[in-house]
Structures are given as C-alpha cells and as structure tokens.
Subunit: 401 residues, 2 copies
C-alpha cells in the first residue's frame, strides 16, 4: 500500500518556489500520495474530493518536510576507532595518527578483513538508524578497500542495502580515497590501477566517481586523470575538495563539470564562482568540524556565491561518526551562518540536486513521496532542540516505515 | 520486581576509587541488585553463587554506566521560543530580546497562564525523554512564576513528576530567577516577597534554593539576603554564578558553603580555590555555549583547580533546549577540555555530589541501583558518536524501564 492522504499538517515544507519563500511553506497543508509519488499538495481545505477515500495519515498538527537526502557518506566500513578518537581529544593530530599507521588505514585493514555479509550487517544497522532520523536517500562511497576486490565488495554491499532496505542508496566509487600503504613508494602504479582494473570492476556498480584531492591525498593532476577516466565510462563526478588546504580541487571540479565539490574549507571566491558557472554543487559537512574541533567552513559565503548548497553527514569512522541529518541541519544553522530555512533546503533540495536527483528533495506533484513528520510544530525546532529525537514518522515512497 | 543480576557487561563504569583510575572500570563485569540497591559488583566470574537464581539482564557485551544525574534544569515550563531562537540566529542579542519583553519573561507569562495539569503533562514528556536518554535523577527549578502562586505551582508539578514517574526529581526554589516586569521599579519589594511569603510557600516543597546572581539579574547583596533566608529554613544552596560577567557570585557561593555554583564562565582561580575549600561543586553547562554560540567555559581549568565538577543540561526553553546528558558529555569532552572519563564522572558522581546525594552516581555496594546499558562497547562512544541514540536500556532502582 503506497497511496496515502497525509493531513493535519501544521507547517508543510514543500521547497516549491511557486509557493513563496525559499522553502514554500503551506500552513494547514495536506499531501496526496498515489503509488509512491506525490499526486497533489496544498491546503487541506482544498484536497480534491476524489482523494477522500485514501488511507489517511494524521500528522497531528506537526511539521512535515521532504525526506532528508544525505549526499556524502562512508557508511560501509568495519572496525571501531573510538580509541583513536579519544587519543585525538588528548591532542594527537590527524597527521600524527595517519603517520603511525592509524586513521583511515586501520579502517582499510578492518574492511578488507571483513566478509561481505558481515560488512552488510554493520552497514544495514547504520542505514536503519539513518531512516529513523528521517534520511530517505543516501549516497554511499567505497574507498576503504583500495584494492580491486574490496572496492568491489563495498559497492556490492551498497547495492544490497539499496535492494533490501527502504532507503535509496546512491553508490559512489572512491578508489582514490588515499594511497594504500603497499603503493606508498609507487603512487603512479596505484593511479594506474584505479584508472584501469579497479574502474573496470567498479564502474558498473557505481553512479559517481569521487577522489580525495588534497594535500595529504591525491594531487590535482592525479585527480584529473582518474576523473576523466571515470567520466569516459559514464560516471558522474564528485570531489573531496580543498578540505585541508587549497590545492585547486574546487576549480578542477568546475572544470570537469562535476556534480559536486565537497568540504571546501579552503575554497576561494573565484573557486565558488567557477563552480556556480559549471553547475557544480557545494556539499558542506559541518559534523566534521564539530567532531574534529575545526573551524566551520563559512556556509554563508558559499550560499551567497550563488552555488547550490547541500549538507551531508560525512558518516565515517574517523572524522565524523554522525548519522543524523537533523544534527547536521542544527550545526549548519548554529555554526555556518545558514538560516534554518536555508539549512533545511540544503539538506533536502540542495542535497538531491548535488546527486543529480530532480525527483526528490521537494514535495510537489510527481516527486518521489519521501517525507518526514516531525515531533515539533515547525522546522525551527531542528536547531532549537539539537539533541532531540524529532522524527515522529517517516514515509518512504508512500509507505509508512 | 527490583532484584536483578546484570551480566555480560563488556566495560562497567563503577566510579569506585578502589578499583583504579578515575571511573573504576571493571572488564567483563556483573552487578547484583537486591530490592533496588546494588548488593554486589565485580568480574562476572566472581559472582557469588547465592545470586545465581536472580532474574538476569544480559548487557550483550556492552558498556554499563551509573544512571546520569542532571543537577541543573528548568524543565517545568510552558510555551515555545523557537521563533526567538531563530531571531537570535539572525544576530539579535539576548539583551535585545530581553529588553523587548521577550526571552525569559515570555516563558513566565506562558507558565503563569498554564493550568497545573497541563504544565505537568508537558513536563512529564520531557522527563520521559530524559529517562530514555539515561538520566535517572534530575534537579528541577522553579523560577518561571515569579509570583507566589506560580512558583508554588511549579514545585508542585516537580513533586508530582517525582511521585508519578520512575525519575528521582530534586526540587529547587528559584524565585529569584529574574526580577518580574511588575517589580522592575521596586526591586527591593520583590526581594522582600521572595524572602518572605514566597519562601513560606515554597520552602516546604523544595530541597534547594537557587538565585541567578549576575549582571542582568540579582546583585551579590540581594543574593546573599535571599540565600541566608533560605538557609535558615534548612534549604541547601545553589547559585547561577558569574555566567555573563564576574560579579563575585562564585565567591559568595563559597562564603555560604553552597552545594553548587553553576555556569562559572567568568570565575577566577581565586573563586575556584574558595569553592574548593568550601566544598562547593562547580556545575558546568556546555549546552548553553553550544546553543548560544558562546565560548565554552574552560572545564580543564575548573577540573584542575580541585573543585568537584558536575555537568548538567540546563534544559530550558531559551538558552539550551537540551535534554540528553549523552550530548552534554560529548560537548564537554569535545569543547571543555575534559577527557571522556572525566566527563562521564562529572555527569554521574560529580553531579550527584553537587546535589548532596552520596547514594548514587556510582555502582558500589549500597548505592541506589540506577544504571544504563549503552548500545556501544565503551563510554568512549559518547563523544565518538555525538548524535546517536546510545541507550540500549535503563534500570531505575532495579527496575528495567
């Protein structure tokens, strides 16, 4: 049963520009869902009579929003790095931990050693918690394999998550996450592997290709080579860009017409202008700043540049073990200079756009019927009550979860 | 049924100094609960045979901690200030909002206008959410009445919460929260009212008396007068001290042998030394800094002064609409310079001590059997996964909630 009349909505966020304001709020609204898609949206008093017999979902006067879209996660991983996290709280730097063979390479080791079924089970728990927090579409990256077999295993897990759970999972190949230990003396050979055998195996399983282009990872030249190879196989492009320093990755993203450049802590006005012209979205990741105690990127500046802004958890075992887009919206409104309206838009419409998904992130006729009912009268409660479980119900493609 | 054998505990935080380290961790531990009190604690292999027939609670290899004690809340309130919160995100200051009749006075208006039963229902929802987040003892202040009838109403609600829910509620009279609008031109008359008729009505319903002693609230002289009156009626003493500026309130707390001085953003080394000598605990409130985007008080400095450090949510509708001690522990470890061990200790043993409750906040023989089972292998996951629901189960006085 995936047809519903959702009514008694106090404050309905549609993201429909035709309804005024950034997020197109309808007061006392209703949503009609037929066969998993939005068929009608408007004030409840105007619901057409033909929908009167549909099964009803009473929102109890609460706020209803489009389901959240999380466009940047590393949620398929094995292992536990809470000890390392505590060490970092005592003052050890990421670079020190990396240099000592900890950090991301310990996750690579654990992920390689974990059988596919077990990796699926651990990842499925995360996906269920994300669904409980209102996320209905999630991007998932590989990148903890760094060998052909494990990269492929991670993407197969992502596909199984998509097929087995009521979450739309968008898979991204990130073979170029970091240079693995065994190639440290021969980076070129690793880039060859990524562009060749690894892409052969992984491109059929992925929708996007991403590269971590930064001081501690891949150079801009290496990034360009990998992404051009991916593009020629039909993959969309994302880049971990200019997180630790400005290496020119945001500019490269624009040059390649990437779908997104992510992080962007050190991107300049010129970089943002190029991204805007190229239609490249900016994916901001405030939970990394929170967990790593780093300055937050200036979301206000990014928004004002005219670029499409998206928000994501960056869910990963090292720098942001965070799963809830509610928390990410709160952080963005509190610490990145976005208004609550902008943060909500970025976590829905902006995030969907960064994944090139025009059919979601909004509640208008024809959209995929993904929505959340809050346990709150308006979306303003998301930053106002930053540690609360604010999700009363989640509807995925017209089905109440 | 309030006798239990809790076993299969991966990492048991006892706060027993006899077990080594600050928080006395027992690996592969077990806890025996008889009639709501802890009867035995130790490694599971050593559980005495006489307890073998008790009902069992399997912790599944997870971490077990004492239930959290939240020693500073304003959870009895009516109204919703999310709009004001959004205004503040746009740059309006607390002082501007106060001066415009908003802020705390709008909560006073709403709380006065709300019938006692309705106030109880709203407050009970908050208490249930706190229980779900692992808090098993909570302090609750009056202070949104500022007239005799409403202050008394708030404390009656606190008493009913204590009697009707599986939460121990410690009531605090805070008639001197702010000078009400109707006394703005005659502060002395309000202080007279607090020391006289209001204390007459409220002292029998409260265990502590608190005063907001700060630049925007009550002077140190007014604070002393009120707290001496409260002390002579047998109430313990707490002070909202030196939050907005250093007015000498922390020093006064020490002088009066207060049980706690809270906030302490501007307390000096000398203030802390006086508090230590007087046995006055420091209650730190990191969620205020988070929600108000203010610098965090230096918890490291406070801890190193030798004062007993406690952590609290400050749950209130204006400056910290926060209910979870998990989130508070995460904030303290991330932003106040406390280690995860210290933050956990402060949220359990330290908080209990600040309320003069020696029978809880630890899991040793004779303690009240309040404990939480985490959905995590160790307490390090609290800052590591700051937005996760980490509570697998809560036991209150030996009863599984």
């Amino acid at each position: 049963m995936n047809s519903l009349l959702v009514l008694n909505i106090g404050s309905l966020v549609t993201n429909d520009p035709g309804r005024g304001g950034l997020i197109g709020i309808v007061e006392s609204g209703a949503v009609v869902i037929i066969d998993g898609f939005v068929a009608w949206v408007g004030p409840e008093v105007d619901v057409p009579a033909e929908y009167g017999d549909l099964p009803r979902l009473d929102a109890g006067g609460a706020a209803v929003l489009p389901g959240f879209v999380d466009p940047h996660t590393h949620l398929v991983f094995a292992g536990d790095r809470s000890d390392e996290f505590a060490r970092r709280l005592r003052g050890e730097s990421y670079e020190e931990i990396l240099a000592a063979g900890g950090g991301i390479l310990s996750t690579v080791e654990a992920t390689r050693a974990t059988p596919q079924d077990e990796l699926y089970e651990a990842s499925a728990e995360r996906v269920w918690r994300m669904l409980a927090n209102g996320t209905t579409t999630v991007e998932v990256k590989s990148g903890y394999g760094l060998d052909v077999a494990t990269e492929e295993k991670m993407l197969r897990v992502a596909r199984r998550l998509d097929e087995s759970l009521p979450m739309d999972v968008v898979p991204t190949f990130l073979g170029a996450h970091v240079v693995p230990a065994e190639y440290r003396e021969d980076r070129d050979a690793y880039v060859d592997l990524v562009c060749g055998e690894m892409l052969d195996a992984c491109a059929p399983l992925a929708r996007f290709c991403d590269v971590f282009s930064d001081e501690a990872a891949f150079t801009v030249d290496e990034t360009r080579r990998i992404l051009e190879a991916a593009k020629s196989r039909g993959l969309g492009i994302r880049i971990h860009a200019d997180q630790l320093g400005r290496v020119g990755a945001a500019d490269l993203a624009a040059d390649l017409s990437a779908d997104s450049a992510d992080h962007l802590d050190h991107a300049t006005e010129e970089d943002l202008a190029s991204m805007k012209d190229a239609g490249t979205s900016a994916v901001l990741l405030p939970a990394v700043s929170f967990s790593m105690r780093l300055p937050y990127p200036d979301g206000r500046r990014v928004w004002d540049s005219g670029v499409t802004v998206a928000l994501a958890t960056d869910c990963n075992p090292g720098t942001a073990n965070v799963e809830s887009m509610l928390f990410v919206i709160a952080l963005a409104a509190l610490n990145m200079g976005l208004t609550p309206d902008e943060a909500v838009w970025a976590a829905t419409r902006g995030s969907a756009r960064s994944l090139n998904l025009e059919d979601r992130g909004h509640l208008t006729r024809g959209a995929v019927a993904d929505l959340v009912i809050l346990d709150a009268p308006t979306h303003l409660h998301i930053p106002y009550r930053p540690d609360s479980d604010l999700i009363a119900a989640v509807v995925k493609r017209g089905v109440i979860l």
